[in-house]
Symmetry: C2
Subunit: 346 residues, 2 copies
DNA sequence: CCAAAGCTTGACAACGTTGTCAACATTGTT
DNA sequence: AACAATGTTGACAACGTTGTCAAGCTTTGG
């Protein structure tokens, strides 16, 4: 199958390749009748521009990178899907780059994908969006980048996030409304800045209700199901066990739920449990878990939009990242399901 | 940041660009001392070849596409991750292309990504690996492609799969061993050929044990959690309800499990449940679900290996796809967990 | 009706790499 | 020692597109 090039189209339409190029890229300065004629030939010959030639010539790659810690998680899947669809919408392509900050040589890997693929922009997911060394690589390579849920976005980065603190406060306040006073909190790993913000919200809600936080019932997990399982044991072994557990993410909430079930503790009659994230498995549990829906796909899509915005790209990648348009907060939603209920009179 | 090109390296090393090219690509015919000198300069200048220029010139893109139906599923995440890591290993990049056979115009989308990105190869995941129209597009564009778990791979496709039939037989036989005789089966959607193979295995196991399949206890779901939930209801409402349910995938098994719990039916004491896939949430349930582990990541990695194999690529993409080396079956494993147990004397 | 200003168009040279081929250097053979 | 075979190297022309710039139009305004 002989490949159709811009020259074939040009010859057939009786114009120069440059004119065809103008039509394809929707540029001005082409007479309407010529434009149409060219478009007709393009359709006829089934011409599709060669992305490589285009990139080589224009120094734009139409490629965005998604840099992410753990590409297997449900969270990653949602972010990726949101980014993917929006890229398609904008005629970009997406390359997923796993970054393991624990593995030596990751810097080289990142630099290599930046310069070898000439990415037009990068989306950086949590928790690595808070790694200064990683961000420095983007800055140095002058690659525009947008962070998802960062703790403190540098001036040259765009950012998209949700209000973790407010969301956590909301759900904790809901537990208080239900009558709970002894509320345990399972923290996420310290590397995730979102975990700290959620804890802040939790503490704020309790403070507002005049409830003292029992520091013995605040434990650190690592966002894994297993850690939820283990900390569930620890919390329920407490001399004065909590009537509600607020876990920093759904997987840990799920772990705590299973621990309760193993012990024959009824949820929510004897123990309320809530999570954060609204991953699929929080719905596939019984009871289903009360949680906060994060607009993951939407955040990713918004990140793509910022990256392709010429205004953001100017200045070699977001020196004006702190302009309001490139700092975007998206709304969350509390989803009340079966795992939380009024304090029983057990 | 001025970009370093092959010419810069050549100049600095006192050789021609072509020689540098040879060194980079590990070609023969370069004197060892020159090779080393060039390598030194490459490291010194931090030179990284421009992927676009390379592709344009060599008509190889070093890009593989992963064509997949539902990129958000846990299954997809595993496949993608396996492919991603192996691509990295082989210095390829991976582009994920969601294909929604239900949306009009998907053909154009696929053709466009093939010809615009000049993919070097495609990995096609189930269930779309069984769509003749899709495969015809790859063949027509002469893009080498490897199918994951296809029903009948065409001669010009590579294929990687597991023995769904044997695995299903194994797990069904295990239920029989536990004493179950009334075993319900929840089928997957007809579009997934794996579902049919699993059903075959199920029927074979029962036949071998001399047990007649109760056709009323064979119901079709759509692989979703919800359908498991609903069919669980249906099956447990049967006049003579089953003592075990074998669902064609974990999500449906999970649904059936939740249904049982809602009704206060003890699992596995009163009802055994098993699934297929070993997705993360099958472990995050209580009891954990007995299932078959599919080597998803491994199959994807194997697919990458086949695609980059020059022997496979010859002849414009796998006319020799039916050579044994490009037809690979990977082993599965039965994972017995808490959701199955001996037939109670209820 | 003419000059100035704006539009439309195409020639040509990049972009950074690799394929081809010819030149030259080395080794092996008789 | 002459010649063939083989190994090493670089010149040059692709690859398919877009940026630049200048030439030839057309319109506008006086």
């Amino acid at each position: 199958m002989k490949t159709v090039t811009i020259k074939d189209v040009a010859a057939r339409a009786g114009v120069s390749p440059k004119t065809v190029s103008r039509v394809i890229n929707g540029e001005d300065h082409v007479r309407p009748e010529i434009r149409e004629a060219v478009q007709r030939v393009v359709a006829e010959l089934n011409y599709r521009p060669n992305a490589f030639a285009r990139s080589l010539s224009s120094s734009r790659s139409y490629l965005l990178g998604l840099f992410i810690d753990d590409p297997v998680s449900g969270y990653a899947a949602e972010v990726q899907h949101g980014a993917l669809l929006q890229c398609r919408e904008r005629s970009y392509h997406l390359v997923v780059e796993p970054v393991d900050l624990g593995r030596p040589g990751w810097q080289e890997q990142v630099r290599s994908s930046l310069s070898s693929l000439r990415l037009d922009g990068a989306i950086v997911a949590p928790p690595i969006c808070d790694d200064a060394e990683l961000l420095a690589i983007f800055t140095e390579a002058e690659v525009p980048h947008v962070l998802i849920g960062p703790s403190q976005p540098p001036a040259d980065s765009g950012a998209v996030w949700m209000d973790d603190r407010a969301a956590a406060r909301e759900i904790a306040a809901y537990l208080v409304t239900l009558g709970h006073r002894r509320i345990a909190f399972i923290q996420g790993p310290q590397s995730h800045s979102a975990s700290a913000r959620r804890e802040e919200g939790f503490r704020a809600a309790l403070a507002e209700a005049g409830i003292a936080v029992d520091e013995g019932a605040v434990r650190r997990g690592d966002f894994s199901f297993r850690s939820g399982l283990e900390l569930g044991e620890v919390l329920l072994d407490l001399p004065d066990p909590p009537s509600a557990i607020f876990a920093c993410n759904d997987d840990m909430a799920l772990g705590a739920l299973i621990t309760a079930m193993k012990r024959g503790i009824a949820v929510p009659e004897q123990l309320s449990i809530c999570g954060f994230d609204d991953v699929a498995s929080s719905r596939a549990a019984w009871p289903q878990i009360t949680t906060i829906r994060q607009p993951n796909a939407e955040m990713a899509a918004a990140a793509v939009d910022i990256l392709v915005d010429p205004a953001f790209r100017r200045n070699g990648g977001g020196r004006n990242g702190d302009a309001p348009a490139f700092r975007l907060m998206l709304p969350h939603a509390m989803i009340v399901r079966g795992s939380t209920g009024p304090l029983g009179t057990a």
